[in-house]
Point group: C2
Amino acid sequence: MAGARWDIQEFVHRSIGSWRSQRSVHHLAFAHFEAVTSQITVTAVSPQDARVQELCQVHGISSDRVVSPFVMTWEGQSDWDGEISQGESLLVPVPTASYRGKLLRDKGYAETMPAIGEYYLTEDNTFVLVTLYDRAAAEEKIWFINDNVRCRVSLIKTSGGSGVVTASFSSEIKQKS
Amino acid sequence: MAGARWDIQEFVHRSIGSWRSQRSVHHLAFAHFEAVTSQITVTAVSPQDARVQELCQVHGISSDRVVSPFVMTWEGQSDWDGEISQGESLLVPVPTASYRGKLLRDKGYAETMPAIGEYYLTEDNTFVLVTLYDRAAAEEKIWFINDNVRCRVSLIKTSGGSGVVTASFSSEIKQKS
């Protein structure tokens, strides 16, 4: 990809907005396919916001180090059980180097506990996030195809990290606002 | 990912074998999901093989420059029409630099004509292939999660390159031989 290398601020900036998401989940052991259609909204939050301050405090991190915190909300429907799931998560990047840092979350995807992940941005502007939970590890890659289309691959592994349990893929299209 | 950076020889070497593939295709305009289960086999071919020599000749490329040619065969079933599709393609890498080169194919995925793609391997050992056809462009990324699991994301774009028509994701698990 041509152009400048992105830092986390640029990546979050391009993510702000409403996205229509098609997500396919591959449950590898059973070769089962699950299809989820959802609406995702990414909204910027002030670093001074009380929720950001509180999350930093929980993790003993100075809120001065926070860059581009945001809230992600989603509402989706799976073809597996037909149930509508919805949720909201606060995500707070804390850079430790130019293209690398920690990502605090008040809730994870794989579990509902607060989580800290390690992120980095590759040379070709792919955002990579690794989060270790008690009994699982999640690895996520997000990259933009153009301003209005992005792809996301998420892997849930056993905590040892060797076995992949589910692999999922989302294609996300930005909605005109 | 820790460890040495891979060249095309290493990448092909790790791909040799039989793979069980789950592939999800997102037809973006219609938000349609298609699920394909297939068996993929990757077999090494000698650079001296007559088919390799012939493909090089077609493209006016010296076969001395060929590294690790291989044949890919697949047989799959889609949940869209239930039909079984199968095929075979000869792929011939021709490096132009350490982590970059051309990939000759006797047949493409998107069209059935011979094609030349441009490949490169990123710092984190992702294989990226861009192929331009008359009316479309295909972009493919393949990376290994571990020795036995790999992921593949393919995008088919309009030839201008701005519009993404389909995005597909495969999770591939190596079968014990």
